[in-house]
Symmetry: C2
Subunit: 350 residues, 2 copies
């Protein structure tokens, strides 16, 4: 099976051409599983070109039996498929004020795909992780200089051991039934369902069990919530909803209006989505549909009557089973991560 063509500017909304950072186009966000050519691409560095036949992942650190595994060995292990929604930690950064540095994603740095691969746990079990290990570091082949770091930086993120061993945490080799395209991490990437995208390290080269918390650049200097009082790493996706239809700026008839969208949370299943029309604090419960998996976004919809012609704000607000609710306004932080504020779209009713 050959890899599909790389995503390009016909199928994505480019935020930065080099390295490629590009959003899922709004119409493609209506699909429960995002077509591969429309899956958003987030890159910190130029895309490594890895030779599938020669590529090996080194597994080491605080393990009993360090080893290296090549792609054919990896493909021979039992495979598992999960449908997972993945959101970039910087999604919706463009609506934070003042705008933080970093890619100015609108609302399209989120996609849902079917990921197929070998559970990371299978590889870790073969190595035998020492009981004193606290985190599993996964490194990619992508690296380069950063203004605020001395020498080149390699992309890497560490997960608590329990999350690394979670059976749906995959060394994925396929997306939507096709081999990974290079921008998505070919030949193999990590997939950590429920976490913001930075955890799903692409172009995996190295897996290392650590006995002290990882202090790498992308764990301590980026992908951290940083404000005047504290810094903490970005981890699971905050509870969030998006309105897919109508779209911001739409002109619609005054007939009953069907509002539709998605909701997701990395903490717990979605248990409620409310919709408000107009200002004020009147919210109505939307009807929830069934998610494609426990890691995929939940569809919701609500049919509303609009009283009279004019401009209206539509808002959606999700609640998850852990009691997390979307905030009214973005919680600003220095690098602009985790904007899960209530989604507002403005429409004109004729």
């Amino acid at each position: 099976m050959s890899a599909p063509p790389d995503p390009n500017t016909d199928t994505l909304v480019v935020v930065k051409p080099s390295p490629l950072n590009a959003e899922t186009p709004t119409p493609a966000l209506a699909a429960e599983v995002t077509p591969s050519r429309h899956v958003y691409v987030r890159s910190n560095f130029a895309h490594p070109q890895l030779d599938d036949g020669a590529h090996r992942i080194a597994v080491g650190g605080a393990v009993h039996s360090p080893f290296a595994i090549d792609m054919s060995e990896l493909r021979a292990l039992p495979m598992h498929t999960v449908v997972a929604t993945m959101e970039c930690a910087g999604n919706d950064r463009s609506s934070m004020r003042p705008p933080p540095p970093g890619e100015l994603w609108r609302s399209g740095a989120v996609s849902t795909a079917r990921w197929t691969g070998v559970p990371l746990a299978a590889v870790l079990e073969r190595a035998g992780v020492h009981t004193e290990a606290v985190e599993i570091l996964v490194e990619g082949a992508d690296a380069g200089p950063r203004e605020d770091s001395v020498g080149p930086v390699t992309f890497g993120r560490a997960l608590p051991v329990a999350d690394a061993l979670q059976p749906d945490t995959l060394l994925a080799m396929m997306m939507n039934g096709e081999p990974l395209a290079r921008p998505h991490g070919a030949p193999v990437r990590l997939i950590v369902p429920g976490w913001y995208g930075m955890a799903s390290v692409k172009w995996v080269t190295r897996i290392e069990a650590l006995t002290t918390p990882y202090r790498g650049y992308f764990q301590r200097k980026r992908y951290v919530y940083e404000d005047a009082s504290a810094t903490s790493p970005v981890t699971r996706m905050r509870v969030k909803s998006m309105i897919v239809s109508p779209e911001d700026g739409d002109v619609v008839a005054s007939a009953p209006l069907l509002v539709q969208g998605w909701a997701w949370s990395g903490a717990a299943p979605i248990v409620r989505v409310e919709v408000a029309i107009g200002g004020g604090d009147t919210w109505r419960d939307a009807q929830l549909g069934a998610a494609a998996s426990t890691h995929a976004w939940t569809p919701w919809e609500l049919q509303c009557d609009v009283p009279q012609p004019g401009r209206y704000a539509l808002r959606s607000r999700a609640t998850d089973g852990a009691g997390n609710v979307q905030p009214d306004a973005a919680r600003w932080n220095r690098h602009g991560y985790g904007n899960n504020a209530v989604r507002t779209v403005i429409i004109d009713v004729r």
Copy 2:
């Protein structure tokens, strides 16, 4: 001279059709004096149709000589023309989060026009305002029911006596050299330069000198900054700037970029406009042009180099001679007035 045709949906962006609330279209905001057909319209009630031949303004209250004046007498008094920028207090409400109730204006509820009329002071001097008067109430012919008031409400606003006597405060009968159109207050409206638009009462019927502060609906229940801790009336326009070019969402070449816009303040002249490209806190001074009058917006521009292709946030921040600076983020209040947050537009550089 006959009045021009009413503004309509071809020349304005309608926010609510009835009563008409409609914005100046973005391209028309590039003009120093807004063409009449593109001047924004804010209405609280249906537009009164007044008979020019029979219309009289009653002048009374705490004055020595109450009188009524008809349009021909008013037109016989010495006329004065001022160019003034007028902004609706609810302009940019749509970008406040959560969206407050009220018309969801984007950035087009601001216009600049040449207003011609009789200074209010001339009429007040003829009446002889008592020294104990503290405010001058001006009422319009527009009235109607309001959900949160018993019985019909008439539109009225009061000004401190000093502002009422200010020589550029006009009983205006012409806009841009033509008789006022009905949606703009024909045959006569107040113009209070420097104040948000609600002070410029349309369809004037009554002028009354008050010895105690006015407590009417539009002075105490609306056009007030209200939050959890306090309520205070909306008065002068807060310092503000807008970027006219490029527009939000524009795709531009990576050549030098000319950023242009307007800045205004009801408190003092504009003394500085700064522009930031990208996140962070690097601001550069824009070049200020000459305003058409002390009450008109000040043009500004800055030529910038854009380092590389990608998506950028452009921000403008104005400072006035009283030291007021635009805040980074909107100051939320219950009815959504006075949003003078730093203006941000997002562009894609190819």
